[in-house]
């Protein structure tokens, strides 16, 4: 006791760091730093190429580091980071999805910079500065380092061993996203509004997370998930703090996945943000946030679930129903996909509430399947243009099946996957989560889920009807021919959607094998 109080008199012991385990994160953060330096020192002409190159090389290298890290599993950095099966699976997923996202973001058609992003984020929309920036050929290549920082946070999020690390990861992944949301090249006011909303509500939810973490610290005397788990079995005199603490932390996490009633930001932000960024948020943020929820719930506070699981049940049911029902009335493709993503978050929660290893693997499979489909879907949305801007109003999509059969066909296929039609990944994923729920006493949830997906299917088919069975309103809507970048993102997304529907075996198997948390 005395020794630790007068710390200076004792020998300093450096924390053991398992560099193999944290290498993926180091690589991504390192690439992000290089990106910032490129931004600082490289001449304007080479920045775009250098940034895309650095980002892609970094992501691929990090993915290989994840594969290598399989041999370095364990708790490291004094328990702050835990690299285990689920962490590695989700990190791999995030990196794979990020590659597609970066490809979609890098699309520049015939322009000089990435097409989806404004020339100068700081210039007020419509101001002389903005036109000056456009004339000067300015590009916002900062989006790539920002994306890399967000990815780094996402990698840390599901691997966080204590609530403090989890919070830091939450902020590291959120802050770049706030900025990215505000950088759309068209309809900039909408984009900036989305950014500010996301920031304010995100800060609000972070406060809930912190408050919950503080209560849990009061309850157990530690931020460490393992210690909290141990404390649950014992009486401490502070028992009243446990359930509110758990629920408040969950609020902060549920905000990130867009669960009802913490979903209101989703449609506005998804609509306002640059479309590739929306795809990135819908896919990667969800993967990371579900990873964090899984770890918090399964490793930390699972033993007290009888006290708070009913609340999560209610949230899951509300999320599925509200997401599906509200998507019916949407007239904007991006808002529709936003509500669809809310409903999907509800389906994933269903699997999570199985409280079993099968639940973990089904959730992990679901986020992979959904991630690939959703990135491809948003990439396609970014291709359909009316004049210069994206044609996101549904009526503008009428007759697309006749004028652009391939793009419409791919989008229709992705919608069928969202609807959970067999032989798409959506079906396998839904089946996995629902059967996990039914197998472990959450049958009512699965029934609501099937009902909600029946409602949602109607919405998706409405879009298909629109594309194929309705005459187009005018011929000003067209599909911009994509470069290899977007084509690759769409092709890989669609292909994965098909492959995971027809031969899901290898991935299901991998998810199942890596579904065990290290406690």
């Amino acid at each position: 006791m005395i020794a630790s109080l007068s710390g200076l008199t004792t020998e300093f012991v450096a924390t053991k760091i398992n560099y193999g385990a944290v290498l993926p994160m180091l690589v991504v953060f390192g690439a992000a730093m290089i990106g910032v330096l490129v931004e600082a020192f490289a001449p304007r002409a080479v920045r775009y190429g250098a940034q895309v190159g650095v980002a892609l090389v970094g992501l691929v290298a990090a993915f290989m580091a994840v594969v290598l890290a399989v041999g370095h599993q364990g708790s490291t950095l004094a328990g702050a980071v835990v690299i285990d099966g689920p962490a590695l699976f989700l990190q791999g997923t995030i990196l794979a999805l990020s590659v597609l996202s970066v490809l979609a973001m890098a699309e520049r058609f015939d322009g000089i910079g990435a097409d989806a992003f404004t020339a100068q984020g700081a210039a007020a929309p419509g101001s002389p500065q903005e036109s000056a920036a456009v004339r000067a050929g300015a590009t916002t290549t900062e989006v790539f380092p920002l994306t890399m920082f967000a990815i780094g946070g996402m990698l840390l999020f599901p691997a966080a061993g204590d609530l403090l690390t989890m919070f830091v990861a939450l902020e590291v992944l959120s802050l770049p996203l706030y900025i990215l949301s505000g950088l759309a090249s068209r309809r900039r006011l909408l984009s900036q509004e989305a950014s500010l909303k996301y920031f304010l509500l995100g800060a609000f939810s972070s406060a809930f997370f912190l408050f919950g973490a503080a209560l849990l610290f009061g309850y157990s005397g530690s931020m460490d998930l393992g210690v909290i788990a141990k404390a649950i079995g014992t009486q401490s005199g502070m028992d009243g703090l446990l359930v509110p603490g758990v629920l408040l932390v969950l609020v902060g996490l549920l905000f990130k996945i867009g669960a009802v009633p913490f979903h209101s930001w989703t449609p506005d932000v998804y609509q306002g943000a640059p479309t590739p960024v929306t795809g990135f948020m819908a896919a990667c943020t969800k993967v990371a946030a579900f990873g964090a929820i899984l770890r918090f719930v399964y490793v930390g506070v699972g033993d007290s679930r009888w006290d708070w699981a009913p609340a999560l049940w209610a949230v899951a049911i509300l999320t599925m129903v509200v997401g599906a029902v509200l998507s019916i009335t949407q007239t904007d493709v991006k808002r529709l996909l936003a509500y669809s993503s809310i409903a999907h978050a509800g389906f994933v929660l269903t699997g999570l509430l199985a409280f079993d290893r099968v639940g973990v693997s089904s959730v992990m499979f679901y986020v992979v399947a959904y991630g690939f489909s959703t990135i491809a879907a948003f990439a396609i949305v970014s291709l359909v243009r009316d004049g210069g801007s994206e044609a996101t109003h549904l009526s503008q999509w009428a007759g697309l099946g006749r004028t652009h059969p391939i793009v419409a066909g791919a989008f229709a296929f992705l919608l069928l996957a969202f609807a959970g039609i067999p032989l798409t990944s959506g079906f396998t994923a839904k089946f996995a989560v629902f059967s996990a729920a039914i197998g472990h006493g959450a049958t009512p949830l699965a029934v609501v889920g099937v009902l909600a997906s029946a409602i949602a299917a109607f919405v998706y088919v409405r879009v298909i009807v629109l594309m194929y069975f309705t005459e187009s309103g005018g011929d000003s809507v067209r599909v911009v021919p994509p470069s290899i970048l977007t084509s690759a993102a769409v092709t890989i997304g669609v292909a994965m959607t098909l492959v995971l529907g027809v031969v899901p075996a290898p991935l299901l198997d991998l998810a199942s094998r890596s579904a065990l948390f290290l406690r």
Binding site: L196, K197, L200, L201, V243, P244, L247, L248, V251, F255, P261, F262, S264, W265, D268, D307, W308, P310, A314, V325, L326, I328, T329, Q330, T331, D356, V358, S362, F365, H393, L394, S395, I421, L423, T428, F431, A432, F434, S435, I438, G439, T443, A446, V450, L451, A454, A457, F458, V461, R462, V465, Y468, F469, T470, V503, P504, A505, L508, D509, S512
Partner: protein, 650 residues
């Protein structure tokens, strides 16, 4: 954790004689049955304009090839003894993870082979017919691609060895049907018809998917063999729930009460589609499902009764609607509904009915497809006119159509010795077997249905081919080209002789015995000869009444106002209004109250259902108003409610 590994080796006994065994010999080629038409669909749909020239012919050839393989497998099966006719071909391990193991496999047994032959044979004939019928359509290639997709999905549906794989085919045929109903989507009504079919099918899909998950939760497996083996030990309530959910699926796919309303509108599709999908094959999938799940239904008398009731109501309902319609295709659609009602009734009666349900299904596949092709031929000759009041006396102008249609007509009436007689009469007999009120009610319904069928089918036949000419001025009816008449002749031959070959020889009963078990002997409550005479008498009465009204007397070109019942029947007995009141209105109110939008503007992008799903950007949404402070308040309210609820509960 359920760890169930079901493959060929561990497949459990099937009811009836034989145990499943791994596929050998030609049966191991069964996968080609599905793959060939699927390949055709892929080539045509993805091949683009390059395949315009040879695509339709290729699709037809691949479908015939599929039939050829089916025939070879069938012959090989014939060569084996009855207890060796059930074979399982495992393909690959589909979903192998964790608690859920599923091999995708094919169950090749007498029941599935009966369907394979029906689907490939009738399907191929109809493809040949379409080569001529669709000759001038610019989108011909897409049409043939969709038809091939349909054939592949239907074959997958009947060859699946588990409910899950069956569900894949189930969705596939739904998708193909949907695409083909809306094929001529220039006409907005067609798109809305396609939509209606889709919505009705989603209701059924809901039933199917919950049933499958319930099966998984109860039995730990979803293969037919595994489920059948588990039924004995399952609790009655669960079985009833599974049975009713499966019935919901069957009702939506087979257009049975109360989900029948889509079938009439589905006639918006091209006529060959109506013949193949909405008469001969897809709509009978519900009957297949009930017969395939007979072990479940035998375990739950409640669900079984519901099957019979649904069948009985639909068979009367369809017949009544058929009496009032003037659109030749809609009459045939109503008739299809009614005939499938017969099959459902038979399938619900238990072991006495399975064989006759399938038997009637096969006969119906021939005579109804034949009549639809006949109707298509008439339309072809009459400038796409469908109003029977503008036909009349076509027998001279279109001799082959008249003759083949006539055979179909006699067959559906149940006139011996045509096919329909052998199956329909047996169903009526079977419905009269039993104790208490059931035989009288169900048998009575079947009997009355037969009489009404005789009336409306004769009405159709007389109004179209007999009586006097009521043609529009510009009509020059002529016989269709050979590629259309040959399939009609082949189907008519089947309608004439199939029953005679399979029925009296008992061939169909012994063929299906490995699947459905032996039919028990039972005595109807009315002696068989009396019953048979009574049936024929009623049929003759129906024909006579139709003769008086629609051949002897003049048929007005404009439809008369008609009685209350006629008017109701013309409106499909107000089924659409009932659906709207029961399903759409509450749905609409639910949606509206959830988003608080004002009902001023509703965009008409999707047609009939737009009221439910549409919305305009101008509407006011009080919840999603865009103010960040309201969003924050929503979050806070959510937190307070959750914490409060947990606090109260504790």
């Amino acid at each position: 954790m359920h760890l169930v590994q079901l493959s060929a080796s561990s497949a459990v006994r099937l009811a009836g004689a034989g145990a499943a065994q791994p596929a050998s010999g030609v049966t191991s080629l069964a996968w080609l049955l599905v793959v060939l038409p699927l390949l055709g669909a892929a080539i045509l749909l993805f091949g683009g304009r390059r395949t315009n020239r040879f695509g339709p012919a290729l699709a037809t050839v691949l479908s015939w090839a599929s039939f050829g393989i089916g025939a070879v497998i069938f012959l090989a099966m014939l060569g084996r003894s009855a207890d060796q006719r059930v074979e399982v071909l495992s393909l690959y391990s589909w979903i192998p993870a964790g608690g859920f193991q599923l091999e995708a496999g094919m169950l090749v047994d007498p029941l599935s082979m009966a369907f394979v032959l029906l689907v490939t044979f009738v399907g191929s004939l109809i493809l040949v017919y379409s080569l001529a019928y669709m000759e001038h359509d610019p989108d011909r290639r897409r049409f043939f691609g969709f038809l091939n997709l349909f054939v592949a999905s239907m074959l997958l549906l009947v060859l699946a060895d588990s409910y899950l794989l069956l569900y894949v085919g189930w969705e596939g045929v739904g998708l193909a049907s949907y695409l083909l109903i809306g094929f001529w989507n220039q006409i907005p009504a067609n798109a809305s018809a396609a939509n209606k079919a889709f919505v009705a099918n989603r209701v059924g899909d809901f039933g199917m998917s919950v049933a499958i998950m319930l099966m998984f939760a109860t039995f730990g497996t979803v293969t037919f063999a595994g489920v059948d083996a588990g039924v004995a030990g399952a609790n009655q309530g669960t079985l009833t729930a599974i049975g009713l959910l499966l019935l919901l699926g069957a009702c939506s796919k087979s257009a049975q009460f109360p989900l029948q309303s889509w079938l009439g509108d589905a006639m918006a599709g091209p006529t060959p589609v109506s013949a193949l999908i909405h008469a001969a094959t897809m709509v009978t999938a519900g009957v297949y499902l009930v017969v395939r799940s007979h072990v479940i239904f035998e375990g739950t008398p409640t669900a079984q009764t519901f099957v019979v009731v649904a069948g009985a109501i639909t068979l009367i309902f369809g017949a009544v609607v058929g009496c009032a319609k003037d659109d030749v295709k809609k009459v045939l659609a109503a008739s299809t509904m009614s005939q499938i009602g017969y099959m459902m009734l038979a399938a619900g009666l238990g072991p006495v009915g399975y064989v006759f349900a399938i038997f009637h299904l096969l006969n119906h596949g021939f005579f109804k497809a034949g009549m639809f092709l006949g109707a298509g031929s008439v339309m072809h000759g009459m400038n796409d006119q469908v109003d029977m009041r503008r036909f009349g006396n076509l027998s001279g102008a279109m001799k082959i159509t008249w003759f083949t249609f006539g055979i179909g007509w006699l067959s559906i009436l149940g006139v011996p010795p045509f096919s329909g007689f052998f199956s329909k009469d047996k169903i009526i007999e079977a419905a009269f077997i039993g104790e208490g009120w059931r035989p009288w009610v169900f048998g009575g319904a079947a009997l009355i249905g037969a009489a009404i069928t005789a009336f409306y089918m004769s009405r159709l036949f007389f109004m179209t081919f007999q009586g006097e000419k009521r043609w529009p001025r510009d009509a020059h009816p002529h016989e269709s080209p050979r590629r259309m008449t040959v399939p009609m002749i082949v189907l008519a031959t089947g309608s004439a002789f199939l029953g005679l070959i399979l029925g009296p020889t008992n061939a169909i009963a012994s063929w299906l015995e490995p699947v459905t078990g032996r039919s028990p002997e039972g005595e109807p409550v009315i002696a068989v000869p009396v019953l048979m005479s009574l049936t024929l008498l009623l049929v003759a009465g129906g024909v006579a009444l139709a003769w008086v009204q629609y051949w002897r007397d003049k048929v007005p070109v404009a439809a008369p106002a008609g009685s209350l019942l006629t008017r109701a029947a013309r409106q499909d007995l107000y089924q659409d209004d009932v659906n709207e009141a029961l399903l759409m209105r509450p749905g609409l109110h639910l949606t509206r109250s959830l988003v608080f939008f004002d009902s001023r503007g509703v965009d008409g992008a999707v047609g009939g259902l737009a009221a439910l799903i549409g919305g305009t950007s101008a509407r006011v949404r009080r919840v999603q108003n865009g103010f960040v402070r309201s969003y924050a308040l929503t979050m806070l309210a959510g937190v307070v409610v959750i914490l409060g609820a947990v606090w109260v509960v504790q």
